[in-house]
Amino acid sequence: MSGDTLTVSVWRGDGDVGRYQEFEVPRQESQTVLDVVTYIQRHIDPTLSYRFACRVGVCGSCAMTVNGKPRWTCRTHVSKVAGDGRLEVAPLRNLQVIKDLSVDMTDFFDKWARAEGRFQGAQTRDDDFAQVSPDSPKRRRASAGIECIGCGVCYASCDVVAWNQDYLGPAALNRAWTLVNDVRDIADKQRLKAVAGDAGCHACHSQQGCVERCVKHLNPTQSIAGLKRATALAALKGELE
């Protein structure tokens, strides 16, 4: 921390055209990066666009690139990332910028749909609750990936997404894997087909940028490795036809 103010460079612009603008923001105790951005908008420049909702790490809407790394800004303390009193805040990589710090998440969530990320059950409200043992291997595998908040941090950390626009990405594939392990779900065949293609799990290079950066400490690479095995097995059995 350097003195009582922070020097903050903030990306300003629409689409790909823009530049960094500098602001001086008073330093406060337990200040988060989101606090800093909010301060700029409320006290210096009301035209600054950014997105947040819950402020407590639940909604997944506040992710930005902070000093070069994708992070959830509401849970990132300034003291942790701006040792020298400087902050650089930019929109997330790999997504179209709408304005300033807000990005268009449409592609990101469309890919969840393309990975068959929707639960499809066979039972109705008249049926009894499904009994799933918490210790069963499938339940444990599903639990390992279930806490995703859809923030897009992993997606912004993945070079394969940058290289192949169609690549489904770590979050959507992680979601697909939790459903493959959901014993109540009946759509596994079409789901495995959906993730087996060129832009699916086999495109992943296991670089583990997603693991490194996931705000919830999930392991999308592990989920994707699970999908690689499941789709390979399904292909051997001729189920992907």
Partner: protein, 113 residues
């Protein structure tokens, strides 16, 4: 914008695997050429063997062995990651593959010297 998302051992391992793969592929034609000499042109091959005794060439060979070891251990690491049950400590495994490659390179160099 800085590329902070690449700043971790698994990414470096990925780059090393790519680069070593490309360099080894570039080396292959030379390898075949030497094999051809060994089989067809004994005199030229003897000349080559003498050339290969030079220290700089030995050093270059060591680099080649390093590349091969790095590519091999990296490939085994990826196969294990993708086809065996997941294990934590991936960074340790990356460090191990790097260490094994260095040892192989060193052993080669010591034997060559």
């Amino acid at each position: 914008m800085k590329a902070g998302h690449r700043d971790h051992p698994n990414y470096w391992a990925f780059v090393l695997h790519r680069v070593s793969g490309v360099l080894l592929a570039l080396f292959l034609p030379v390898h075949f050429q030497v094999l051809y000499l060994a089989i067809k042109k004994a005199s030229a091959f003897d000349g080559f063997l003498a050339w290969a005794e030079m220290p700089m060439v030995k050093l270059a060979e060591t680099v080649l062995i390093l590349l091969l070891a790095a590519h091999l251990t990296g490939g085994l690491r990826l196969l294990a990651l993708e086809f065996l049950p997941w294990r934590d400590g991936q960074k340790t495994i990356v460090a191990l593959t790097g260490g094994i490659s260095l040892v192989i390179g060193l052993v080669y160099l010591l034997n060559a010297a």
